[in-house]
Amino acid sequence: MELQGQNGLLATFREPWRTRGGVAYAVAGALIGFYTLLYFRDHLGVAGGALDPEAWAAALGLRSRWLLYGALYSLAMIGGAAYYLRRHGNARYNRWRIGVNVGVQVVLAFTLPLVMPYFFTGDPGQFWKYEYYFSYFWPLDWYKLHPGSLQNVPVVFAIYSIVGALVAAPLLAYFYGKRWYCSWVCGCGGLANTFGDPWRHLTSTSTRSWRFEKRAVHTIMFLAIASTLLLFLDHLVGDRNATFHRLIDGGQWWSMKSLYGYVVGAILAGVIGTGLYPLLGPRVWCRNFCPMAALLGLFQKLGRFRITVKPDMCISCGNCTTYCEMGIDVRSYAQSNESFTRAACVGCGMCAHVCPRGVLKLENAPKLQADKKRTGLPVVNL
C-alpha cells in the first residue's frame, strides 16, 4: 500500500536525546559555542588560534568562514534530511518538500555563492558582490534592501532583491501560504526541518508561548522595516547630518545597523535560534523572531492557504499539536471542526501526516469546501 500518514509508531518520549536528556544539553552547548565563535570571532580574541573559524576555513581552502559555515550547514541538512526521510519519507509531500529544500540550500545557498565570484570577477576585492544568495530575501536577509547593497551589487541582483522581497514573496504567500518560502526554500526553515526535526515536539504549545510569539515576532518585523527605512533616510540626508549618520550607520557597535546585525542576525537567529534546537525545538527563530515569517504570515492570513478539518473525526489525540514545530495547538481547531489559517503555520504538513484519523488537509483553495458548513452532529431544536 502507498502510505501517506505516519508509518509506524515513534518512541520520541523514550529517547533522552530527544527529550532534554544530558545529550540534548551537550548538543545545545556545542551549537551555542560554535555560533558564538562564528559570529563573535572578531571580539573573542581567537583570531589566528586553534579556535578561529577563519583559520578553519582557510585550511579547507574556502574564502571565508561564511563559506565554511555554508558547507557545514549543507552537510547538516543532508544528514538531517536522511533522518527525516527515513521516518516520514513515505508521504510524497514530505519527500518533495525536503528534497527541494535541501536542493535549494546546496545549489543556491552554497554552490553558487562559492563559484559565482570566480566566473564574474578575478579581483578578490570584488568577490563579495557576486557572493549572492538567491534563496534569501529581505527582511530575513536584511542587508539585501540596504541602499548600500543595492547600489553596489550587479544590477540584475539588485532587481532580483527588490522584486523578490516586495513582489514575488508576498504574492506567493498569498496564493500558496508562507510555506512556499518557510518550508520549501528558506535555509533556516530547511535546517529546522532536517537537522532540527528530531526535536520538533519540544516547541511549546502553551497559550503563553503564543502570546510571546505574537509580540516578539511582530516587534522584530517592525524593527526590520523601520530600520531599513532609516537606512534609506540616512542615505538621503546622512552626509548633511553627522549625528544622525553616526547613530544609524556609523560603524560603531552601538549604531543601529551594527546593533540589528548583532542582536537579530547573530544572537537571535544564530546563537539562540539554532543553539536551542535540542531544548526548545527547531523553530525558535522562525516562530518568535523572523521578520520574514511575520510578514509572510500576514499575507498568508489574508490569502488562500488553510488547513481544512474534516468534521467530527478528530479524536483529540494530540499528535498534531505535539508534532507541530510552530507550537500551534492544531487539536484545538480540529476538535471544534474549525478549518483554520494561522499566521505562524509554515505548512510543513506534519500535522496532517501524523494525524491517525486523516482529519487535516493542507489546501490552497479559493473558497471553503461546501461541506465545511456541516459541522458537528445535528442537534435539532424542537
Binding site: E15, P16, T322, S332, P378, V379, N381, L382
Partner: protein, 480 residues
C-alpha cells in the same frame, strides 16, 4: 444551581464547558476516580509507545479547571440517592446536587474464561491499564512522566473498580514478556498489538472470528489488514477460540488454551469489548437496560428527573432505531453537549445521524460511512482494488454498498476520504454511477498523492451480491 458531573471524560468535560459558557454562576463539580485531568482515552496507545507524553494527550491546558471554576473531586462514586439528591462517594462525605450528569464511560468486558483474573492479564482501557502496560513492556513510564497525581484514588478504590492499579510481572519475569498475547479482534486489540510490535515484541493475536473485525470489514478488506499485521510480525490466529488462561503455578498467567491447543503466554491483554461502567448505579432508581446502559430519553434524561446521562454509559437511539450504548469519541462529545443544553432547559434532541467512523489499522487508514456490513435486503457491493500497476502491489481498496439502486455505505482502506461528503451522498440517495463520477469531491488525501483513477471496466462492473456471511436475517434498508 448545583450541577454534579460523574466523569472527567470527553462527555463530562464537554458538558461542563457548555454549561459554563452559558451559566457563569452555576456551581459545577466534576467527580472522577481515574484522573485529575481530562485526557483522550483514544490516545493511550501513543503514550504507551512513547510517541506522546501524558501532557500531550490532555486536550486542554492544566489550568482549565481553575479558569472555568470547575470543582474537582477525585473519588469513586458509590451510588446515587435519587430522593435525597445526593451522590455517595468512597471515603468522602456525600455530595448534594440539583442536576446530575452521569458520564462514567465504559469498562472493559472481562474475559469469560477460567483464569481471566490471573496476574499478568488485563485490559487496555484506563490510565491504570496504561501504567501497567508501560511497566510490563518498557519497565516504566516514558520520559514524559506519569500523569499528575496518579495514585490519589488508590487507597479508596473498591475491589471492583476498573481504575485499580495492576501489578507488573516484569521484575519476576526479569524483563519484557516473551510470549505476549492479545485476545479480541477489534480496534483496541489491534492497537495493543501495534504497540507491542513497536516495542520489539511479537504478540500472538487471537481473533475468534474467521476474519479480522467482521462488523466493519468484509473478508477481502480483512485479509488486507491481516496481511499487514503478519508483515509486521504479529502472529495472527483467526478463528481460534480461547478456552482458558492457564495458571503458571504462581498465580500468574502461563499459557493460553484454545481450541487449537495450549501455548505459552506471560502477558495477556484482553480486548473483547467494553460495557457500560454502571455497576455502581444498580439499585439507585436510575433505570439500566439489559446491557447495563443508562436508559435515556431523546434529550438524554434518565428515568429520574434532573438526572442525565451521556457518553459510553448511556443507551441512546442509534441511526437504525435501536437503543444501546455507543462507545465512540465523537458521539460521547456530542452527547455531552446535548445533555448540557437539556440541563440548561433548551428543547434539544440527540439525533445521531448516519454512521461514520475512521481508524488506523496498523499503517492502513480506514474510513467508513453509512451501512457497510449489515447484510441488507437487496444489498450489492461494488468493490475496487487499486493497484500500483496491473498485477502490482495493492494501493487502496474502496467498497461502495448499495441497497437496490441507491448507495448506502462506503468502506475504504489506504486512502483518506471526507466522510462528510459521503454522508451527504447517502442522504441524497445517489446511485452508484453518479457517486463514481464524483468521487474526487470526497478525496481527502494529503497533497501530491496521485488521485484515485478507476478504469472504465472496473467502473462499469456490475455490483455483486455480498458473500453471505451468516444465517442472520437480513436487515431492512435504512430510512434516512
Amino acid at each position: 444551581m448545583r450541577v454534579v458531573i460523574i466523569g472527567n471524560g470527553v462527555a463530562g468535560i464537554e458538558a461542563a464547558l457548555a454549561l459554563r459558557a452559558r451559566e457563569p454562576a452555576w456551581s459545577i463539580t466534576i467527580v472522577s476516580e481515574e484522573s485529575d485531568h481530562f485526557f483522550s482515552r483514544t490516545a493511550l496507545m501513543w503514550v504507551l509507545s512513547g510517541q506522546l507524553s501524558h501532557r500531550c494527550i490532555e486536550p486542554h491546558e492544566r489550568d482549565l479547571y481553575a479558569r472555568m471554576r470547575f470543582e474537582r473531586v477525585r473519588a469513586r462514586a458509590l451510588g446515587v440517592d435519587a430522593a435525597l439528591r445526593q451522590i455517595r462517594l468512597a471515603g468522602r462525605p456525600p455530595l448534594d446536587f440539583d442536576q446530575l450528569l452521569i458520564a462514567c464511560g465504559s469498562r472493559p468486558r472481562p474475559g469469560p474464561w477460567p483464569g481471566a483474573e490471573l496476574d499478568g492479564v488485563g485490559a487496555f482501557v484506563s490510565l491504570q491499564d496504561l501504567e501497567w502496560l508501560e511497566a510490563e513492556l518498557h519497565g516504566g513510564p516514558s520520559r514524559g512522566g506519569r500523569p499528575p497525581n496518579p495514585d490519589a484514588h488508590v487507597a479508596l478504590a473498591p475491589a471492583d473498580s476498573p481504575y485499580r492499579p495492576r501489578t507488573s510481572l516484569r521484575a519476576r519475569r526479569g524483563g519484557p514478556p516473551r510470549h505476549p498475547v492479545v485476545i479480541g479482534g477489534g480496534l483496541i486489540g489491534i492497537e495493543a498489538v501495534e504497540v507491542m510490535l513497536a516495542a520489539g515484541l511479537r504478540p500472538r493475536f487471537y481473533v475468534r472470528e474467521d476474519s479480522f473485525w467482521p462488523v466493519a470489514l468484509d473478508a477481502r478488506e480483512a485479509a488486507v489488514v491481516t496481511e499487514a499485521l503478519r508483515a509486521h510480525g504479529a502472529d495472527v490466529r483467526l478463528g481460534e477460540h480461547v478456552e482458558a488462561l492457564v495458571d503458571d503455578g504462581q498465580g500468574a498467567v502461563g499459557a493460553v488454551r484454545s481450541d487449537a491447543g495450549e501455548e505459552p503466554c506471560d502477558l495477556c491483554v484482553v480486548a473483547i469489548g467494553v460495557e457500560p461502567n454502571t455497576g455502581w448505579l444498580v439499585g439507585s432508581g436510575v433505570s439500566l437496560d439489559a446491557r447495563g446502559g443508562v436508559v435515556t430519553s431523546e434529550r438524554l434524561e434518565t428515568s429520574v428527573e434532573g438526572i442525565y446521562a451521556a457518553g459510553d454509559c448511556a443507551a441512546v437511539r442509534w441511526f437504525d432505531g435501536t437503543t444501546r450504548p455507543e462507545p465512540l469519541w465523537y458521539t460521547a462529545r456530542a452527547q455531552g453537549r446535548v445533555a448540557a443544553r437539556a440541563m440548561l432547559g433548551d428543547s434539544v434532541r440527540y439525533d445521531r445521524g448516519p454512521w461514520f467512523n475512521s481508524a488506523k489499522l496498523m499503517d492502513l487508514e480506514y474510513t467508513t460511512a453509512g451501512l457497510v456490513n449489515q447484510h441488507m435486503e437487496g444489498e450489492h457491493n461494488w468493490f475496487f482494488e487499486e493497484r500500483r500497476e496491473a498485477g502490482g502491489a495493492l494501493r487502496s481498496t474502496l467498497r461502495v454498498v448499495l441497497a437496490g439502486e441507491r448507495v448506502v455505505g462506503f468502506n475504504a482502506l489506504g486512502r483518506r476520504w471526507n466522510h462528510a461528503v459521503w454522508v451527504r451522498w447517502i442522504e441524497e440517495r445517489r446511485p452508484l454511477g453518479w457517486v463514481l463520477d464524483h468521487l474526487a469531491e470526497a478525496a481527502f488525501d494529503t497533497e501530491l498523492v496521485p488521485p484515485l483513477v478507476i478504469p472504465r471496466e472496473a467502473r462499469e462492473r456490475a455490483p455483486e451480491r455480498p458473500a453471505t456471511r451468516s444465517n442472520e436475517a437480513p436487515v431492512a434498508a435504512p430510512r434516512y
